[in-house]
Amino acid sequence: MKQPYERPTLRKLTGGLPGKFGPRAGAPAVETLDGVRVAELVAQFGSPLFIISERQLRRSYQAVQRAFATRYPAVQLAWSYKTNYLNAVCRTFHQEGAWAEVVSGMELEKALLNGVPGPHILFNGPGKRRADLERACEVDAVIHLDNADELHLLLAVAEGRAPRPRVALRVNLDAGLHPQWDRFGFNLENGEAWQALGRVVASGQLELVGLHCHIGTYVLQPAAYATAAAKLAALALRCQRELHTLVHYLDLGGGFPSTNTLKGAYLPATDTVPGIDEYAEAITGALLAAGFAPDERPLLVLEAGRALVDDAGSLIGSVLANKRLADGRRATILDFGVNLLFTSFWYDHHISPARTFSDHTEPTVLYGPLCMNIDQLRASISLPLLAPGDQVVVHKVGAYNMSQWQQFINLRPNVVLLDQAGAVHLIRAAETLEYLQQLEQVPEHLR
């Protein structure tokens, strides 16, 4: 019986100041996901491979729902489709009770096909076409108005239509964050939002049901949400007082972080990101103190995306090759790149080997397989002595990667769902060359 082999290597020892966190341990192996062996998943579905944990989807949903619903009497989550619109993911959240938050005509149709009733679809987005607005009116989705041109287009669409289309106004406001997101909706502080609300109500053609704001993404300050909630609540009360219109819901948008570590962060996000309860406390505290009569408190809507799905996604990949760069650094080429792991532009993803190694590690640059200089997954990560064919697991990749991924140089791989009983379901098949080319047409003279 021969001994297991690990390539010979040297590591330069650097002194530096002693760290208060002690010596850094090597990355522990992750050999199973929800009890299913990584090696078996790769044998059956190939590499790379996206994995969604249904158990974690539900756990994350219930944690957010619980954080808000134990503090405020009326709470509704609306699943942000753009974060991951694989039908199995959407349907899991809808089973849990989520409405749909969509930002395009395509997403609107997907939500309808997933069985979401029109009135439970919130139609955001800055680029709605006339056909999108007509379709939203037809199915009674709530249209979140983004700009004055859209408002006037909707007034034209709504003319003579019964029942009146239901709308909410998207509001951007100063929540104390810099830079302030003023791209979406009507500004509060300069009076634009109030002017638009007046026009909506005065038109008589639209039914104002909600106010919405989305203050940013991966927002790390719960206090900013408290400011936004207080301002939105004050605006709702003003609508009630001066426009004699009861606002049924306040939508505080999304932007809650996951525990992925942002590039450049000094400490891991698991140590620094506020828990969802802190956001819930900030938002509900502001709403409860806003002065609504107890029986007129608006429904609190939240469009969580990343916070619901990021932790549930993993990506398994394989080592294609190792090489040494000109300056002596180790580089490892994996079989997935930024085309699949878009979020590697934002995060220093946590990556684990899928089998046990010795304690020897080496600082490594991780590259993808794309013939593009930007295809770098980690600029420096301490990993064991991986050999070609070894697998790695990238954690917390559920948000945005499976919607912003690209067919570029390589095709997109299988996606599987691990259900709560441990069964594995293929929920999106790997693409083929035939799939890639099916929409192409070659002119006669080039055949």
């Binding site: 001994q3 297991p4 082999y5 690990e6 010979p8 290597t9 190792n322 050999a387």
Partner: protein, 79 residues
């Protein structure tokens, strides 16, 4: 593969270059290779022994051998 004569090595894989003050940690296989090289074994004999004892293909060993040499060169440890 010949280390500079002033490089101190230990059985546990610790290397020290007194000329620069740099120190290095070799993993067990690298430490074994360096000890054998210092004892005068030639590369072919060391590789044959590794292939005998470890679960590794000859091609992979050749590639990793070259990489070890590159590291030694990069760290300025070769004579």
């Amino acid at each position: 593969m010949k280390l500079k004569p002033n490089i101190a090595t230990s059985e546990a894989g610790f290397l020290f270059n007194p000329a620069t003050g740099d120190s290095f940690a070799a993993n067990p296989l690298a430490a074994d290779i360096l000890a054998r090289a210092r004892a005068g074994q030639d590369a072919a004999a060391i590789k044959a022994d590794i292939l005998e004892r470890y679960d590794v293909a000859p091609g992979q060993l050749e590639k990793d051998w070259d990489d070890l040499l590159a590291q030694l060169r990069d760290f300025n440890l070769l004579a």
